[in-house]
């Protein structure tokens, strides 16, 4: 059952991802990105990582993609068909295929025939405890990163008088 769902979702993600980089319409691109991210959320659910799945939905679909669409709308960027790609398309294809080939071959060879057993799902409870005990240092650093990003965004977006 899990395998079947995985197969369908994976095929969907691959299709959307390929369309994402080949489409010539920015808004379509954003919507394909949404499909890719939603697919990734389903994959997380399949691996019993429900918290990560919902974070994926909230942050990536709810914030990033919506922000992208709002950005397009508010800056009145041209959103019709246009040449989104540069001259480097063939080179980019070669590089991506090479990285994909090498990575997947190595992963395939290393883990062929192994099965993973999920013993118990990671609950929000365990995650919360981990973040505020063992992982408190990265958590605090991230909070300063966010503060800096906030101030930076304001100073860059502010209109000069």
């Amino acid at each position: 059952m899990q395998q079947v769902v995985f197969g369908i979702v994976a095929a969907l993600i691959v299709f959307a991802a390929v369309r994402l980089v080949t489409t010539r319409n920015l808004v379509h691109g954003a919507l394909y990105l949404l499909a890719v991210l939603a697919g990734a959320a389903i994959l997380f659910l399949l691996f019993l990582a429900e918290f990560v799945a919902w974070v994926q939905v909230l942050v990536y679909i709810g914030a990033v993609v919506v922000l992208l669409l709002f950005g397009l709308m508010l800056t009145r960027a041209p959103i019709g068909n246009m040449a989104l790609d540069s001259q480097t398309r063939p080179l980019a294809a070669v590089v991506s295929l090479a990285i994909f080939g090498i990575t997947s071959t190595i992963v395939w060879k290393t883990f062929k025939g192994q099965t993973v057993h999920f013993s118990k799902p990671n609950t929000v409870d365990t995650l919360g405890r981990a973040i505020f005990s063992q992982y408190v240092l990265p958590f605090e650093i991230v909070s300063v990163v966010l503060l800096a990003a906030l101030v930076g965004a304001v100073v860059l977006a502010r209109k000069e008088e």
């Binding site: 992963v107 060879k109 990265p138 650093i141 800096a148 101030v151 100073v155 860059l156």
Partner: protein
């Protein structure tokens, strides 16, 4: 969980200081914004004091083993604080003259410094990664703070795009490492990789991704394309900060990961690092020959310098031992010395740029117009070139010795050839200053007091370490992790 507050005191002081800077910026009227600078200066000085109080203590480990304060961490944190102090002093007049928002500038600079402090103490992939982001995110904005200048916008955008791409690649590598070892602790990763040889090929793949990610941060070939444009377009003090502090932070992360977590795979990555180091220095030095803008020249020169600092990694031995120790110490010593000569050269560029200009042609006849400035610039440039008895010479000697000890003689030859190439473009500027008639530029260059202090501190350090190279060598040997 118990927290050793003494160990995190410098970071706490700095975090407090940056909050105060933010609030002070809020309450000060527009014409008094200059007051934020002394507040920031005090904040960094307080951090420095807290660090000095930790110097010489036995190793402290806290926050779940993620935060380690040892001599390596303390030495580099002191270096970061000094670099930040020099940048602050360099920025004051520049910001007022260019009309850049001062409050936000100092706040972002302190945020970036905080990231540098935490990366020096991180012995775990997770804090290393987030610290590196804390170093970079404020730096994107700093690079683009000259908002009406198109070049500054380009600088920020290029820096941002290249950096997030490199971060993504690095994070992918780190996630693979976590996937196969089940831990993010560096020492633990080394143990588990050694215990499971089956995972070797996938580990090598992730090492490759991680090195690519750091390659962008330290501007190693072929990931250095953003450097000249970003340095040229950014406010010049930001360029100095990027080329010294940000680059050192990248090296700190890279050295920790390579020496602690991945030294068992050194056989595989050694030739790769050797090639990258040689290409980096050769590219930087060759392209620098054709530059006409002083900041671009320093940018390419800093790419060349990154090649030298990377070189000792190419002699790392799988079995550890004194070769590794010397290699690590050589890189650290170079970083310590490089900071002062690069900061010095940039501060002279800022001082002269106020009135004279930023093109190398503008430097013609500086020796007659402002002899003092010309002489200290010569000191910094010759030190970067590695001419005795200046500090840069000692730095190059340490690298040279480490490479010879590792029996990689061809690397030493490549480095020697590069040193000769580099001499050409440094000497070109010096020749302009002393052996060419002055143009229409001003006679006598006024240098603001704070900038004078920056130049003076850098000069003293370059001369002092040049005469007593054992100071840097001793400090570096004490501050290794192997």
């Amino acid at each position: 969980m118990q927290i050793d507050y003494a160990a995190v005191a410098p970071e706490l002081v700095l975090t407090g200081a940056l909050c105060i800077v933010l609030v002070v910026d809020l309450v000060l009227p527009d014409n008094r914004k200059g007051l934020i600078m002394p507040v920031s200066l005090l904040g960094v000085a307080g951090t420095l004091l807290a660090l000095l109080a930790l110097a010489g203590d036995p190793t402290r480990t806290t926050l779940g083993g993620m935060f380690v304060v040892d001599s390596f961490a303390v030495t580099l944190k002191i270096l970061f604080c000094v670099a930040a102090l020099l940048t602050l002093a360099m920025s004051y007049d520049y910001l007022r003259k260019e009309g850049i928002h001062q409050g936000e500038f100092y706040f972002l600079l302190l945020c970036s410094l905080l990231g540098m402090l935490t990366i020096a103490s991180s012995r775990d992939l997770l804090p290393i990664f987030v610290s590196l982001e804390l170093v970079s995110v404020p730096a994107f904005v700093l690079a683009g703070l000259q908002k009406i200048d198109v070049k500054s916008n380009e600088a920020a955008l290029k820096f941002f795009l290249f950096s997030i791409l490199s971060t993504a690649v690095m994070l992918f590598g780190m996630s693979l490492i976590y996937g196969i070892t089940g831990t993010t602790n560096l020492a633990e990763i080394a143990v588990r990789l050694a215990a499971t040889p089956v995972l070797r090929s996938i580990a090598v793949l992730s090492v490759f991704f991680v090195v690519v990610g750091f390659g962008f941060k330290i501007s190693a070939f072929p990931f250095q394309w953003w450097v000249p444009d970003t340095y040229e377009g950014s406010p010049v003090p930001v360029a100095a900060f990027l080329s010294v502090a940000s680059k050192t932070a990248g090296f700190v992360g890279l050295l920790q990961i390579m020496f602690i977590a991945f030294h068992g795979l050194a056989d595989v990555w050694r030739p790769f690092i050797a090639a990258v180091a040689i290409l980096t220095m050769t590219f930087g030095n060759l392209v620098a020959l054709t530059q006409r803008h002083i900041v671009r020249l320093l940018a390419y020169s800093s790419i060349g310098q990154a090649g030298y600092i990377l070189l000792p990694l190419a002699v790392v031995n799988v079995n550890g031992g004194s070769v590794n120790h010397e290699a690590f110490a050589a890189s650290i010593a170079y970083l310590l010395i490089y900071a002062f000569m690069e900061m010095g050269a940039f501060s002279v560029a800022v001082a002269y740029g106020r009135e004279g200009g930023y093109f190398i042609d503008d430097y013609a006849g500086l020796g007659y117009r402002a002899p003092g400035l010309a002489v200290v610039m010569t000191v910094f440039l010759f030190s970067l070139a590695g001419i005795p008895p200046l500090a840069g010479w000692a730095a190059k000697l340490f690298i040279f010795r480490a490479v010879i000890d590792g029996h990689e003689y061809w690397l030493a030859v490549a480095m020697a050839v590069n040193t000769v190439i580099a001499l050409f473009y440094y000497a070109k500027v010096v020749r302009r200053m002393f052996f060419e008639p002055a143009g229409d530029g001003p006679l006598g260059v006024k240098v603001p007091l704070l900038l004078q202090a920056t130049i003076a501190v850098s000069t003293v350090m370059v001369l002092l370490v040049g005469i007593l190279p054992d100071l840097a060598a001793h400090l570096a040997r004490m501050s290794t992790l192997v």
